[in-house]
């Protein structure tokens, strides 16, 4: 059943479906905690937060969990090492209420981590793939964009054409459901008593509402698409020179918040941790060098953590070779990865989906949209800092 039919659910039936999923322990939905909204497992549908712009942390946390074990190895009585790979059996989960920008972010992660962006055939990341197969995305179209939202500028929303399993739009009466995948249709089968095919009016209402949402974007209207693309062009053709990035870098405090929250950032670091062999105490020590008297039963875990290209140690090599030594160079690398045409060609979209989290979290006001605007301003005003690469004095610090 793959024909493009839209479905419709009444409010009460949607609650009924959510209740069923939460009772099965599959439901992840937005939940308010400490003034912020997070995606969390839901036991009781009353806990679901309905009035939110987006979660603080992108739902990529369910695909790339912090501190995931890649493998473990243990020393036997004979002094040999035995390697164990983790059990990849993860439970089926349904994320309800994910926003379009994060759906687009997950599509971006798929493109990279499943190895599709390379010319050669690259095996997918097995842990990511497993979790991705077991995660169903039920997106809810935003009707009240936030002040930092800019999805309209970079194909990240407010509604998408693909990438979701279900896409829900709240209408005056009930919800319109668009089904995007085979998996989405299979899920639809399990609740078919509670849904019905949508009337054409419902689709028309969705389109009207969407048009209104796009009008309501506060700072980044669709007109800002042009500056975003101009920034992309400037970065791709290296029109933006080092002095510009030095000034951007000077405002970066290397907190790493931008990429921690970013729905498209995937870089990770691996560390071998000494662990308790039976894992009972859970005590772990990093960087324990191979001590000579290490006895049988010594057990290590190789764990991956999120890493961040803005941080100083990201590209440091043994032996003193040390590319991207200053923050400006690291910022250039980050914005090139997100905005450039070179990566657009490989990933089939910009590396930014417009969720605005980096804008919200950045202390130095160098979020994606802010830098894109600055690049465009610098390029269009023909300031020499951007175009000629000549260094400027401190007096001209603000480009």
């Amino acid at each position: 059943m793959t024909e493009q039919v839209n479905m419709w659910i009444s409010r009460t039936n949607l609650m009924e479906i959510l209740t069923r999923w939460s009772q099965d322990g599959m439901l992840i939905a937005p939940k308010r905690a400490g003034g912020e909204v997070f995606f969390a497992p839901i036991d009781n549908v009353e806990e679901i937060c309905w009035d939110y712009v987006n979660s603080l942390i992108s739902p990529k946390q369910f695909l790339l969990p912090e501190g995931e074990t890649l493998l473990s190895y243990e020393r036997t009585d004979e002094g040999e090492w035995v390697i164990n790979t983790p059990n990849l059996d993860v439970p089926e989960k349904i994320v309800f209420g994910i926003r379009s920008c994060d759906v687009a972010g997950i599509a971006y992660l798929d493109q990279f981590l499943l190895g599709r962006m390379f010319d050669r055939k690259i095996p997918p990341d097995p842990l990511y793939k497993r979790r991705r197969e077991r995660l169903t995305l039920i997106s809810v179209v935003c009707q009240k964009p936030g002040s930092t939202c800019m999805c309209v500028c970079c194909d990240g929303g407010p509604a998408l054409k693909a990438g979701y399993d279900w896409q829900l739009t709240e209408l005056s009466e009930g919800w319109l459901v668009e089904v995007g995948t085979e998996k989405g249709w299979a899920l639809m089968e399990t609740v078919k008593a509670l849904v019905e095919p949508a009337e054409t009016e419902a689709v028309t209402e969705k389109e009207e509402r969407l048009a209104k949402v796009i009008e309501n974007f506060q700072h980044y209207s669709p007109h800002h698409r042009v500056p975003t693309m101009a920034a992309s062009r400037g970065v791709s053709r290296s029109l933006v020179k080092e002095p510009f990035w030095d000034l951007i870098g000077a405002r970066c405090v290397e907190c790493g918040g931008c990429s921690y929250l970013c729905p498209t950032c995937f870089c990770f670091n691996c560390v071998d941790l000494l662990t308790d062999p039976d894992g009972s105490t859970g005590q772990e020590e990093p960087f324990c060098p191979l001590a000579p008297g290490q006895g049988a039963g010594t057990c290590y875990k190789r764990v991956r953590f999120r890493d961040n290209c803005i941080l100083e140690g990201f590209v440091r090599q043994a032996g003193g070779i040390y590319p991207r030594r200053n923050t400006g160079e690291r910022c250039r690398n980050r914005f090139f990865h997100k905005l450039s045409w070179q990566f657009f060609q490989r990933m089939h979209r910009l590396g930014c989906t417009g969720c605005g989290r980096c804008v919200k979290t950045c202390l130095g006001e160098i979020g994606m949209s802010q830098v894109a605007t600055e690049i465009t301003d610098a390029l269009t005003s023909g300031r020499k800092v951007a175009l000629t690469g000549q260094r400027v004095g401190k007096g001209e610090a603000h480009v």
Partner: protein
Amino acid sequence: MSEATFGVEPGELYRPRLVRIVKVEDEIPETALTGPVRNFYLERHGLSFRPGQFAQITVFGAGEVPISLSSPPSLGDGIILSVRAAGFVSKALHRLKEGDRIGFRGPLGNGFPIESCTGYDLLFVAGGIGLAPLRSLLEEVLYRRQQFGRVLLLYGARTPRDLMFTRSIPIWQRQGVEVFLSVDIGDGVWEKETDPPRKVGVVTTLFSEVTLDPSRTVAFLCGPPIMIRFALLGLTRDLHIPPERCIATLERHMKCGVGKCGHCIVADKYVCVDGPVFNYAQLEKMASVEEPW
């Protein structure tokens, strides 16, 4: 290329295989500036690879690092890693002895395009420990000597003591490799000898010593970033070798080696999967965004 060339099952991308160290051999002693270099001979288990590829080596208890394979694929039953004790994991590797086991994940990366170089003269330019990945290619070429024209090696190091594979150099010469050496700082004795021909200075000063036909030469480079940068300039500008036939291999910090962790990114390329071998035309394109050297 198939998934099999990764030497891993697709479902177990991060699982290294256990490999025994057969022999450990000192190559360069420790100096005031740099750690010692040792050659680690590993069991091969019938693994096939291309010159210029690398592997992720696990030292149990320490971690995993990318290390290039420095022996030729045609060398029957072993794989050699030439490793300088420079960082946390490589220092731990130096503590291992014959009979110890390490984790081996690979071969990874694209490797040198050796098949498309048949019939050409080959010019190798190496700096310091950069000779290690090039040795894999150089010795592979010697196994198939008749398929190639002249073979030249320009090799530079900081001091005479830092020259790698000094035992192999006379053997290569006997097999028809024209070798030229340089050191940044001589020791008063080394400069007086004349075989192989030598100079005190950086490796690019050797370019004036060689005569070659740029229309039928392919150059291979490996060394520290600054050397790669100036050697590529010299090769194209002074020796007139076209950029597409100047081929260098890059070094970057990596965590996964299989295009997932994002550490090795240079401009729009992932060194682990798109490289580590690039030609100068590609490198120049990358350099317009971020200098790969």
